[in-house]
Symmetry: C2
Subunit: 256 residues, 2 copies
DNA sequence: CGCCAGGTTGACACTTTTCAAGCCGCGTGG
DNA sequence: CCACGCGGCTTGAAAAGTGTCAACCTGGCG
């Protein structure tokens, strides 16, 4: 079965971790098929060009590699071009929690702005590609481009809203509601990016899902089994096929 | 016993919900004893004056009154001058969760920037006073004042970090760890504002605490009782006296 | 004074975790 | 090419933690 998560517009490799020349630069944002999701929404072509110029590195990241480490000095934001990432926070006693999964077009590292130190680890969970956006450059550009500034505020605000949704999930939902919420969210985000929303492969392990949902991996596994037994899902290892979206929505909404 | 939460610098009443004159305006930020916590950190006096001019309303809010309602059009941020607020999000099935408590100097309403709609209710849990900051004005000012822009980004980023901390709490901690984290956080925030960190009165009910911590009110109550039995706290209704901070820290850090 | 929201406590039910055993699938190396 | 090993997944049974329901207490306010 073909890997439905490989983006149809993914571009050929550039040099690993190295600046590319001006010509390639200009292409970076203007040709990025994810530009609606990424920063430049609502910009003129000229503005996109300006933005492109401050994004001078594009980098390939291997599965398991960290692009951001908690505690390191904050210098840049990263936009996901292709692939999949998890963000992890470490509790004082060493317990770790996944605080989010990110896919193409999403922006990483915003938690570092506050105190100039990244507050979480961000690790690729599959081979990926990111654009590094040096924050000083972006900051300067924001002052000159009101529309970009506005958009950046929206992106940050939406991150606050997203986390609020997760808090809600962790605070009030039961295991099956959490998993339903997770699957529906994933499905929707894939759909927006042009993938089949009802059949996809999970990039993360049961343990990572559990960590994100505030559950143990066994509970995640059991809940998958339960959904399958009820005819809501078909689960084959990491492949998920959603058979009955309506039931999933009902579980999420806590009816049923 | 005197109410330790009444701010020593609280100012006399202004007209309720009405614009005040220019003279009073200038005073708003420059004389605000909370200016280090609020937006203007790191600004020159001239810049503080500029900021003051866009904050043309100061408003008294009664206990139980909402300053922000989920679903309403986003127009402004609010800075808490005095008092205490809770932010609540509503789940699809009607279950409500408290997503945060805010006190003097903290900024509210940032979740509305993303889609120009407030995403949560913000309700005073005691008689309070807020400054309304029309966002269009602020937005325009940010473009002209790089230091203010930078500070605003830090404030938003810290909100993301704060929520990350709550997610951690909800995801991995047990009831007693959650309550310890809550009390230590409250204690620290009071301390920063010049209040006694080890003796304070809770402004919120057990139910609100529970909602915030992802616990039922009975569990909160039991955990308070347990802490008291262990000699860690003295609990009298809403009055809390922390007797053994170290134990509380150990519980929080999960070493007991 | 009496009401009532808010708080405490107990007994029991339920969900999730913990611990344990075993399975599956995939990549590696013989 | 196959066997082996290992990480990841599933499942079961028992334990722990928290929720639910219910009774009762308490203090503040009309």
């Amino acid at each position: 079965m073909s890997n439905i998560l490989i983006h149809p517009n993914s571009t050929p490799a550039t040099t690993h971790s190295l600046p590319v020349n001006i010509h390639e630069l200009k292409a970076a944002c203007a040709n990025c098929s994810l530009r609606e999701l990424c920063l430049p929404a609502g910009l003129t072509m000229a503005e996109v060009d300006q933005l492109s110029e401050i994004i001078y590195t594009r980098r390939r990241v291997k599965r398991g590699e960290a692009i951001i480490r908690s505690g390191e000095a904050f210098t840049a934001l990263y936009a996901v071009r292709t692939g999949f990432f998890k963000a992890c926070a470490l509790a004082s006693d060493g317990r770790e929690q996944v605080t989010g999964f990110s896919m193409a077009g999403e922006l990483l590292g915003m938690d570092g702005i506050g105190d100039d130190i990244y507050q979480s680890d961000v690790i690729a969970i599959e081979d990926s590609e990111v654009c590094k956006i040096p924050f000083d450059n972006l900051d300067a550009l924001l002052g000159e481009m009101p529309s970009l500034q506005r958009h950046f505020h929206k992106v940050m605000s939406r991150e606050i809203v997203r986390e609020g949704g997760v808090m809600m999930m962790l605070g009030v939902m039961k295991a099956d509601e959490r998993l339903a919420a997770f699957l529906l969210n994933l499905s929707q985000r894939l759909h927006i990016r042009g993938y089949a929303p009802l059949e996809f492969s999970l990039r993360m392990t049961r343990e990572e899902i559990g960590s994100y949902l505030g559950l143990k991996l066994e509970t995640v596994s059991r809940t998958f089994s339960k959904f399958q037994a009820e005819g809501i899902l078909e689960v084959n290892q990491k492949m998920i096929r959603i058979i009955d979206v309506e039931s999933l929505r009902k579980i999420y909404a806590h009816h049923t």
